[in-house]
C-alpha cells in the first residue's frame, strides 16, 4: 500500500477503509488530500479484495471543511485551469459502495465529501452545515446539487442560505443520513453495516448502486429501461446461479463476485 500524507488506508475482510488523518486541523480538506482520497478510492474500486469502502475521519470531527488558506488568494482563471473539482467528479464514479462514518463537524467541503458517500452513519451530536455563504461564496463541490437532490430545494435553500448547523436528528429526518449511533460505537456500527453489505453478492450491489444513481438523473422511463438492462445483465453472473440454486436447495449461498 502506498503511503499517503493526509489519509490512512487499510483493507480487511472485504472492507476497505479510508481515514482522513489531519485531526489537528479537524480534517480540513486541501487539494492534495482530496487527490489522495480519490487515488485510494480508485485503487480499492479496482481491487477484487475490496467489496465496500468505508470513509471516516480521525479525531473529534469528520471534516470541518475545505482549507480556506489554500483558496483565499485564488482567481477565476487559476481555478478554471486548476480544474480541482474533476477529482470530485471521479469520486462520484466509484462503483463500489462508499459508507461514511461521520462525527462532530461535517462542514462545507466535509459535508460535500459526506454527500459523495452512498450510506452515512452519524454519531449522535454530529452537526452538518454549509457555511460557505458566511465567507461570501457558496458550495463548489456539489453541495447545491447533491443536497438538493437528497432533500429538495426548500430545505436545501434554507440550509445553504443561512449556513446554520443541522443537528444529526434533522439530517436523519430529511434523509441525509441513514442512522444515528452512540459516538462510542460509530466505527463498530459502521463496520457491522459495511460487513453486512460486503457479504452480499458484489455484482448485484454494484449494479444496484449504478441503477439507483440513474434514478436521480434520468426520466422514469429511461431509468426503468436502464434498470431492466442491469437486471438482465446479472443473469450472466455466477452469483445469480449460486443465489437461486442455494434458495431452491435451502442452503446459504456463497458469492464470488463473478
Amino acid at each position: 500500500m502506498e503511503s499517503f500524507e493526509f489519509i490512512e488506508t487499510s483493507l480487511a475482510d472485504g472492507v476497505a477503509s479510508i481515514v482522513l488523518n489531519r485531526p489537528r486541523q479537524l480534517n480540513s480538506l486541501n487539494r492534495k488530500m482530496v487527490g489522495e482520497i480519490l487515488q485510494a478510492m480508485e485503487k480499492f474500486d479496482r481491487d477484487p479484495d475490496a467489496r465496500v469502502i468505508v470513509l471516516s475521519g480521525k479525531g473529534r470531527a469528520f471534516s470541518a471543511g475545505a482549507d480556506i488558506d489554500e483558496m483565499s488568494q485564488d482567481d477565476p482563471i487559476r481555478l478554471e485551469l486548476l480544474n480541482q473539482f474533476s477529482d470530485w467528479d471521479r469520486i462520484a464514479n466509484i462503483k463500489k459502495p462508499i459508507i461514511g462514518a461521520v462525527q462532530g463537524f461535517v462542514f462545507g467541503g466535509g459535508f460535500e465529501l459526506a454527500l459523495c458517500c452512498d450510506s452515512l452513519i452519524a454519531a449522535s451530536g454530529t452537526e452538518f452545515s454549509f457555511p460557505e455563504v458566511n465567507l461570501g461564496v457558496m458550495p463548489g463541490a456539489g453541495g447545491t446539487q447533491r443536497l438538493t437532490k437528497l432533500v429538495g430545494r426548500t430545505k436545501a435553500l434554507e440550509w445553504i442560505w443561512t449556513g446554520e448547523r443541522i443537528p444529526a436528528e434533522e439530517a436523519l429526518h430529511h434523509g441525509v443520513i441513514n442512522r444515528i449511533v452512540a459516538p462510542e460505537l460509530l466505527l463498530e456500527e459502521t463496520m457491522k453495516y459495511a460487513t453486512r453489505i460486503a457479504a452480499q453478492p458484489p455484482l448485484a450491489i454494484r449494479l444496484i448502486k449504478d441503477s439507483v444513481n440513474k434514478a436521480v438523473d434520468y426520466t422514469l422511463y429511461e431509468g426503468m429501461q436502464y434498470e431492466r438492462k442491469n437486471f438482465y445483465l446479472l443473469f450472466a453472473s455466477e452469483d445469480q446461479k449460486e443465489g437461486m440454486s442455494a434458495f431452491v436447495e435451502k442452503r446459504k449461498p456463497e458469492y464470488k463476485g463473478k
Partner: protein, 257 residues
C-alpha cells in the same frame, strides 16, 4: 476567570456556586454565560465526576434579574441566546449534576434546579414558579421538566397559582430527592456528591442518555438505543472492575471510565 460564580474542583467534584448573594443570585447575561462556561469546563475535565450547583448566601437563585428587564427586551431572544445554551450544556453533560438548593429557587432559578439530575433541599429551601406574578410563562425548560416530575395537573397548579412550595412539600411532590437539616447541610451535600463522584461515571452518563431518550423515541428505537448504551457501558473499565470485584467478593474501585 469568573466574576458572578465560583468554580472549584475538589475531590473529583466540581462546585459551581452562584455568587451574587446581595441580588439573591439572580441571573444576568454575564452569570448565564459563566454558568454555561463552567458546565462545559466540568464536562471537558476528566477529573470531574460530579457537578454540584448551589448558591452563595441565603438564596439558591431568584431567577432573571428584573432590573435588567425593560420594554426593549426581546424575551424570546434572551431565552434562545442566553438561557438556551446554558440549559443545553447541562442536558448534554454526561456526568451527574446535583442542584444543592440552599434557599429560595424562584422563576428561572427553579428551572435551573429542575434541569439537574438531583435536587437536594435545605430545610430553608423553597421553590416558586414566580413567572405568573409578572405576567409571564414558566421558561428555561421549566414545564418540560415539571410536567414529567409532578404531572400535568400539579404543574398547572404550581405555574398558574404560583404559590410558594416549601421544602417538605417539594419532597412530597417528588420535586426533590432529599430534605436536609440546616445543621447537616454542608456535610450531607458533600457526602452525596462525593458518593456520586466515586461511581461508574461513564455508566451514569449513559443512563442519562437513555433517560432523555425515553421521552423522545418509540419503543423499538429506544430498545436499539439501549442496546448501544449497554454495549458502550460493557466496554468500560468500570464494568470489568464491577464484575471482577463481585467475583472476588470485594468492594469495586471505579475510575469513571
Amino acid at each position: 476567570m469568573y466574576d458572578t460564580i465560583q468554580y472549584e474542583v475538589k475531590s473529583n467534584v466540581a462546585w459551581l456556586r452562584l455568587n451574587r448573594p446581595d441580588k439573591l443570585n439572580s441571573f444576568t447575561d454575564q452569570m448565564l454565560k459563566e454558568v454555561t462556561k463552567a458546565v462545559k469546563a466540568a464536562a471537558a475535565d476528566e477529573q470531574v465526576r460530579c457537578v454540584v450547583l448551589t448558591g452563595e448566601g441565603r438564596a439558591f437563585c431568584a431567577g432573571q434579574d428584573l432590573e435588567s428587564v425593560d420594554e426593549q427586551m426581546d424575551h424570546g431572544e434572551v431565552l434562545r441566546g442566553q438561557y438556551g445554551p446554558m440549559l443545553k450544556a447541562i442536558r448534554q453533560l454526561e456526568k451527574p449534576i446535583v442542584a444543592a438548593v440552599n434557599g429560595v429557587a424562584a422563576g428561572a432559578g427553579f428551572s435551573l434546579a429542575l434541569a439537574c439530575d438531583f435536587r437536594l433541599l435545605s430545610e430553608h429551601a423553597s421553590f416558586l414558579n414566580a413567572f405568573i406574578h409578572v405576567g409571564l410563562i414558566p421558561d428555561s425548560g421549566n414545564l418540560y421538566a415539571l410536567t414529567k416530575l409532578v404531572g400535568q395537573a400539579k404543574a398547572a397548579e404550581l405555574s398558574i397559582l404560583g404559590e410558594k412550595i416549601p421544602a417538605d412539600e417539594a419532597v412530597q411532590l417528588g420535586l426533590a430527592n432529599r430534605l436536609i437539616a440546616a445543621d447537616d447541610w454542608e456535610t450531607e451535600v458533600t457526602a452525596f456528591a462525593g458518593r456520586l463522584a466515586m461511581m461508574p461515571t461513564k455508566a451514569i452518563g449513559l443512563i442519562k442518555r437513555s433517560l432523555n431518550a425515553a421521552y423522545e423515541l418509540s419503543y423499538d428505537e429506544f430498545l436499539e438505543q439501549e442496546a448501544q448504551g449497554q454495549r458502550a457501558a460493557g466496554l468500560t473499565a468500570d464494568h470489568r472492575e464491577g464484575v471482577t470485584a463481585f467475583i472476588e467478593k470485594r468492594k469495586p474501585v471505579f475510575i469513571g471510565k
